[in-house]
């Protein structure tokens, strides 16, 4: 349904309607593709399609602008761009109740739905669906009651009936996702990852692929996800950032990252990983 022009202008003013059209993202992709290697261009095309389905064209545009930081007119082609593009897509398609419900409905639409889709979340993840101010208050209350890490398993059946309504209702949360606390946290996470890639590229170029691969240790949802994220922050705060800032003795960051990523693959406690990294830095010859 086409809205009268005044309403469209109001929508554009307050909701940014001009860029909520798929052609805006598609045009940006057309501009970017000539500067990408063919295999990376395929990854980017697939990512744009999946991000539009996951969120909206604005979100796909954000992805393209992030890829555009490393490719474009006058920029040196990066060997790691394909790895970065695929991992960034994975990170931007983070798991939340709305995405699990969306996946359940999509499976049903494809005709291969079987058992209801489910995922484990912490109560803090559910509070993260709220806008930042409301979520912060809810998180403070949960932290006081020590309920933040309480696990909740949500199931999303896609069969017809009232259970499907629940799945459809949860999937609708994707429209408010961009205004949630979780979206802000995830956005900051991706920006930090890109920022550290940029810094490592300047300080120790051979280690940049290792820095790109650090994104692999963060996956899933619920308690596992929170532990992965804490481990990732430990790696950045205790190893990568001090090396970039020059506050520790110079070490081979690429080798150090290989060792640390191998250790982090087993999902250790963040404190254990921290000890491991500290020992690694202390053992390095000058």
């Amino acid at each position: 349904m086409k809205l009268p022009v005044d309403f469209r202008l109001l929508k554009e003013r307050y909701l940014g309607a001009a860029s909520r059209k798929s052609w805006v993202a598609e045009e940006r992709m057309t501009e970017l593709v000539p500067y990408l290697p063919p295999e990376t261009a395929d990854i980017v095309r697939r990512a744009v399609a999946s991000l539009m389905a996951y969120q909206d064209p604005d979100y796909a545009l954000l992805y393209l602008n992030r890829v555009g930081r490393f490719a474009g007119p006058g920029k040196e082609p990066c060997a790691f761009l394909g790895d970065l593009a695929s991992r960034m897509e994975t990170r931007m398609l983070y798991a939340d109740p709305a995405s699990v419900a969306q996946a359940a409905l999509a499976e049903d639409g494809d005709g291969n739905a079987s058992a209801p889709r489910g995922a484990s979340f912490c109560l803090c993840d559910l509070a993260g669906l709220l806008p930042p101010n409301a979520a912060d208050t809810a998180l403070q209350v949960m932290a006081y009651l020590r309920l933040s890490q309480r696990a909740v398993v949500l199931k999303f059946p896609a069969h017809a009936g009232w259970k499907r309504r629940w799945t459809e209702g949860t999937a609708l949360l994707r429209h408010t996702r961009n205004h949630s606390r979780r979206a802000r946290t995830e956005n900051a996470w991706v920006e930090r990852w890109l920022h550290m890639i940029d810094r490592v590229r300047t300080v120790q170029p051979p280690a940049v692929i290792g820095m790109v691969q650090t994104a692999d240790i963060v996956s899933g949802s619920g308690a596992d996800y929170h532990r992965d994220l804490a481990n990732w922050n430990v790696i950045v705060d205790r190893l990568v950032k001090p090396v970039c800032d020059g506050v520790v003795t110079p070490i081979d960051l690429a080798a150090a990252l290989r060792v640390v990523l191998h250790a982090a693959a087993d999902r250790p406690e963040p404190a254990m990983l921290q000890v491991h990294i500290d020992r690694l830095i202390a053992d390095r010859p000058l």
Binding site: L62, R69, E191, H195, D237
Partner: protein, 221 residues
């Protein structure tokens, strides 16, 4: 000659004229494009309506305009003070302290990053306390510095550096949308704001020229 009848006619005419004048001011208010003339006409409308409604003993209308009058006076004063402060900044120390009343507080912890390089810029910050460092250039920003004002005017709206908190502190932030609103509502403010940002840009260019000259050993032009 019936004097009382004539007086009654005159009073009816005056009453009708009063209503017409008050209505004319309402219409005039709606035609205003910018904030300061709108508020001035709003204040005149309030006064005319109060007199008109008092003469008719219409107390709800009196009460309504008694509420609206101080509101209009407050908003008008806010705009006039803003314009005066921006003008003073342009001809003075180029500070942007006048933005403070429109800003919101944000506490920052050590290691917290306010924004990353290449990130889409949406707000500018005023440093109240603590220590903040631009990561890429290593420059530490002093208390009282405004950071992020050029992002609003740059064509791609991208951050050019990363800002990190190195000692716990407080910043005030204002969104570009808020500044844009002030700009559109008040063209005089917009004009002086542009002059101020350009002056700050020229100041930076001058500083860079001096640094280049110092590095190359030649006197700056």
């Amino acid at each position: 000659m019936d004097i009382s009848g004539a007086a009654s006619d005159m009073s009816g005419l005056a009453s009708g004229a009063g209503g017409l004048i008050a209505s004319a001011f309402v219409v005039a208010g709606y035609t205003m494009r910018t904030m300061i003339p709108l508020r001035i006409v709003g204040i005149i409308t309030n006064v005319v309506f109060i007199i008109y409604a008092l003469s008719h003993r219409n107390y709800p209308i009196v009460a309504l305009h008694m509420i609206l009058l101080p509101l209009n006076v407050y908003r008008l004063r806010e705009m006039l003070v803003l314009v005066r402060n921006v003008k003073r900044s342009v001809s003075g120390n180029l500070s942007m302290n006048w933005l403070k009343p429109f800003m919101t507080e944000r506490r920052c912890e050590v290691g917290e990053v306010l924004f990353y390089k290449h990130e889409l810029a949406k707000e500018m910050f005023y440093i109240v306390s603590g220590r903040f460092r631009l990561v890429e250039s290593g420059i530490e920003l002093p208390v009282g510095a405004i950071v992020g004002e050029f992002g609003m005017l740059s064509p791609d709206n991208e951050r050019t550096q990363t800002l990190e908190c190195v000692e716990k502190g407080l910043v005030l932030s204002v969104t570009y949308q808020k500044v844009e609103e002030l700009y559109v509502q008040n063209p005089e403010f917009g004009f002086y704001f542009l002059r101020l940002v350009s002056a700050r840009l020229f100041q930076n260019v001058g500083r860079l020229e001096a640094q280049v000259a110092a590095l190359s050993g030649k006197p700056s032009p």
